[in-house]
């Protein structure tokens, strides 16, 4: 169906209703891998936000120059360029975070979410609306990552952004900051969302 959305909708839908991680299940690798602390989640979100906004703007500005046959390759080239820039800047200005995120900054390149937005939106919309779309998606991504990061850090180490929340008697659930915890956290979040959706539907039909 030909989408007739308004600019505000472009911004808002990416935030929750079509949240890239929680609803569309894209960008899972970073969502699970770097959310062991909220700081890492924020750093990854910031880098991804930068990449998706710049990429969307650039792709949208150049959409008339890019022949259809090489469009995916062009998008990938654009995204890869901004990821490289983000990587370099992160390494220079936030070296500790850069070490923690490690290879996953480079892996932003293969984050299906960014490529998906180019293909689905930026390639056929104005620069301004593409930017709104990118910002919305970026915010949605950030929210999802912070949710995961918050869960995992609070339960796994008893702190939030390195600030201890509970007293020394708190026995942290170390599993939460381990890979298994990543899977379980996202799984439970999805379950909770499904449950909320179920209740909402039941409430509507009642």
């Amino acid at each position: 169906m030909v989408r007739k959305t308004t600019p505000p909708q472009d911004l808002i839908r990416g935030i929750w209703k079509e949240n890239p991680v929680l609803v569309q299940m894209l960008g899972l690798c970073p969502a699970l891998a770097v959310t062991n602390t909220v700081k890492n989640a924020l750093a990854m979100s910031a880098a991804t936000f930068f990449v998706i906004c710049c990429s969307s703007v650039l792709v949208s500005s150049c959409k008339s120059f890019i022949p259809k046959e090489v469009r995916i390759s062009s998008y990938i080239l654009v995204i890869a360029t901004f990821v490289t820039l983000a990587d370099m800047m992160l390494q220079a200005y936030a070296p500790v975070q850069h070490k923690e995120l490690g290879a996953f900054i480079a892996l932003i390149v293969v984050n299906c979410m960014i490529l998906g937005r180019q293909e689905a939106f930026s390639a056929r919309n104005t620069v301004f609306r593409s930017l709104l779309d990118a910002v919305g998606t970026g915010i949605g991504f950030t929210i999802a990552l912070i949710m995961m990061g918050g869960f995992r850090e609070i339960l796994g180490t008893g702190s939030f952004l390195d600030i201890p929340l509970f007293g020394p008697g708190f026995e942290p659930w170390v599993v939460m900051v381990l890979p298994a915890g990543g899977f379980l956290t996202l799984g439970f979040i999805l379950l909770a969302m499904g449950y909320a959706e179920q209740r909402r539907k039941a409430g509507e039909s009642a």
Partner: protein
Amino acid sequence: MSDQTLFSIFFSAMIVNNFTLAMFLGLCPFMGVSARVETALRMGLANIFVLVLTSLSAWVLNTYILGEAPYLRIISFIIVVASLVQIVEMVVKKIAPVLFRQLGIFLPLMTTNCAIFGLAIFQTNRGYDFLQGIVFAIGAGLGLTLALVLMASIRESSELSDIPAIAKGTGLTLIIAGSLSLAFMGFAGVL
């Protein structure tokens, strides 16, 4: 060159730091894999093939070309990966059209498969040489295949069970993945 032995690289990538369950790479096929062990196996094998080729290409790039311009690494790697996947797609289509149809959309999706690109990046970061890289790729591919097959077989059985509606689909898959990841943690320290 890394100080690790070939065996430890292989075993680590396949089991101890399983590529999918511990390093979070290759999740797209992992989540979307059908509940059929055969398809999972085939996809895993296709991945192994592409992984080994990627490892070779990454090594060539790192050794001969990227020494002067390391910042072009991400761009060149992704171009190589995308081209490789394209070539493999064409080759598979010619040689095994049945397999090609079965894999369907997953083959081109390998371009954005974190595992393939991730392998190139990890190999570079750890400074593996030629042989170490190949062994790493095989171990990683087998690890990915192992995870895929395990997930597929569990889902195969769970299809017949009574699952609450809210858990059906990705929610359940993630929890299964979490349990598998926990199980694999038992291997930690074996090396």
